[in-house]
Amino acid sequence: MKPTPFRGLAAALAASLPLALPGIAQAGGDNDIKALRDELQQMRQTYEQRINALEQRLALAESTAGRAEQTAAQAQVAAAAPKSAATTPGAAFNPAISAVLSGMYTNQQRSPGNWRIGGFMPSQGEVAPPPRGFSLGESELSFEASIDPLLRGKLVFSLPPEEGASAAVEEAFIQTQNLSGGLNFRAGRFLSGIGYLNEQHAHAWDFSDAPLAYKAFLGNQLKNDGLQVRWLAPTETFIELGAEAARGGAFPATDRDKNGSGLGALFAHVGGDVGASHSWRAGLSYVSTAPRDRLDDSAAPSFAFSGDSRLIGADFILKWAPNGDASQQSFKLQGEYFRRREDGQLTPSGSAAEAYAASQSGWYLQGVWQFMPNWRLGYRYDRLDHGQVDNASVAAGAIPLLAPWDPKRNTLMVDWNPSEFSRIRLQYARDESTPGLTDNQWWLHYIVTLGAHGAHAY
């Protein structure tokens, strides 16, 4: 605190007063003395008041100065803030753009043109292995940004490698981003939240192709045009419930000219940690739809199915990394099981409609071990169970595609990840999907992402 001139003045006054007093007292009587005393009292009070007022002003000035210092400090902080905050005008609100590129060389004992999953209704997706020799995988282009405080949007194009093929909308959805209470809504086209692998893009999978159960029951992946709601429970254990209502345009549904939804899905996930080194998630899923005239003409005789199709699924994943640090070593074990029940009518070409009831299942179990930084080794076992199919034509062997067969496949892979953004994988599969034929398939596959750094889902 600086010494103030006012304080000095007050002190001088106080010191001089007693000296002056005796002289005055001698000159006058008692009344005068009393009057003087009163006057003095008043003077003292006035000065005290003025000094108080001055002190208050000083304190105020000091606090303002303090605030100014604080403001200066904040300004310094602001000046020190990352320079990257200032971006090119016009580019500031551009969405995060990223692309996925992939390509492969395959060596297959048998032509992929003759490949099929024996004993199961063809799922019409692009489930067959890629062409033999060199080929380009699907390229993906994605845009993502906040729309406004309430919404976020994402658009993903997939660009098929074939000459003349047009770009397809892989995903295009809006999602809430500021709701509370654990709620999230999503609308548009999105990968369904069922199962574990379904919600991940194919380029994030640990093997170069989908498990047989995904190929047979979901046509690779269930993609929905519709609405999704998810709710996360306010508990320490991760508990998430979700529901979807969708158009159901593709397998296992068929596009229908009707109001309401053509496909409904439900899922529940629970998850948590066990110590610092393990984390897990498990889930249950349910998909219900009612296809009409779902035609398959990939082989003679063609046939169409109308009825109800219900799929239940169970999935789990367990991840291990020493102390939770996956940079040196890690391991993950995952498995999924699906069971589909279809009830309705099957109409083979040139015949009348027949009753059809089938209960079929499939599962896979896989482990991926990162044995040193950037290198991983994985094994997957795939199996489908033809199960129970009640239908006159199938029983009579009139539809060879659906003749009883339990497909299975063993897959091994090793991949090298030079960085977070690139992966080169060698995969070998001994595939027994096609009845009576064993196929040895080799893949050499690269997958890279470029552009904005996306965050990875669990």
Partner: protein, 298 residues
């Protein structure tokens, strides 16, 4: 003023205990939030001291914790870009999304170093905003702590006095600790060192050590034996005194360099929980300075 403060503290004690749920991405901010939040805050720390902060996964348990948070305390500067956006998005918690008062980024309050002049992934794992390992300079905790106390006050005005009081008490202790560390570390000034990953830019800048090279060819890329040899050839004449690595880093590159160059390795805790001595923020720097001094001994 003191009386008012005492009264407010009393009120804070009498008022129903509403804990501020804090979700800290890394241990250092968890520890700072505990210093400032005191008994008013419940702090969850998403990672431990032995995890590479770049390589955290959006685990279900983290999403569940983010759902319950009132305040997310992150480093920012893209350190958590690989996982935090997913955790926040899936949390369905409207209070802690980026840009809201419930989302605090420490890197906003310090002067960033190593801001890249060009952004290209060919340069490795570069961060557009600069080197994100800001927790290795103790002076940063004063500014970050002040801003954090301000943020907690804003979110929970009922306990304002407690947050401000805790910060003041912490800052006073911290200032004298910094003076102590600086005095202890005075002999380290101008010492040449080699680091494994550029984790300690701010620490070296604070104590005046000179970084000759990093063992990683590019940030986040594992060095090959050939590259290590190249680094060794480059820095040999400049007589590095020791090689530095964080507790979470793979030990191999630093050990190799240590053997070839005949210099000791200093394994620094890097963050709270990085080793046994680094139990809190004070322990972190006590231990860091001691380990540096030990490594620098001729």
């Amino acid at each position: 003023m003191k009386r008012l403060f005492a009264l407010l503290s009393l009120l804070a004690c009498v008022a129903p205990a509403h804990a501020l749920n804090v979700f800290a991405t890394v241990p250092e901010w968890g520890a700072l939030a505990k210093e400032i939040g005191g008994s008013q805050a419940t702090v969850f720390t998403a990672t431990n001291g032995l995890q590479d902060p770049h390589r955290v996964e959006a685990r279900p348990s983290l999403i569940a914790q983010a759902r319950r948070a009132d305040l997310v305390v992150a480093t920012g500067a893209e350190l958590e870009i690989g996982w935090l956006p997913v955790v926040l998005r899936e949390s369905g918690n409207g209070k802690v999304q980026p840009g809201l008062p419930g989302h605090f980024e420490a890197a906003r309050y310090v002067a960033m170093l190593e801001v890249p002049a060009r952004l290209d992934r060919a340069d490795g794992d570069v961060h557009a905003a600069g080197n994100p390992h800001i927790q290795t300079d103790p002076r940063h905790y004063l500014k970050i702590g002040e801003a954090l106390a301000q943020r907690m006050t804003e979110l929970d005005p009922a306990n304002a006095a407690a947050y401000q009081g805790n910060y003041k008490a912490f800052a006073a202790k911290w200032r004298s600790a910094i003076a102590r560390w600086e005095a202890q570390a005075a002999p380290l000034k101008g010492v040449n060192v080699v680091v494994q990953h550029s984790s300690f830019t701010y620490l070296l800048n604070w104590l005046g050590l000179k970084q000759l090279a990093t063992l990683e060819p590019k940030p986040g890329l594992e060095p090959s034996a050939a590259y290590l040899g190249e680094v060794l050839g480059r820095v040999k004449n400049q007589a590095p005194r020791f090689v530095l690595r964080a507790a979470y880093n793979s030990p191999r590159p630093a050990e190799w360099f240590s053997e070839q160059a005949h210099v000791p390795v200093a394994v620094l805790p890097f963050t709270v929980g990085g080793d046994d001595a680094a139990g809190d923020l004070f322990g972190l720097f006590d231990d860091t300075v001691q380990r540096l001094l030990k490594a620098a001994k001729p």
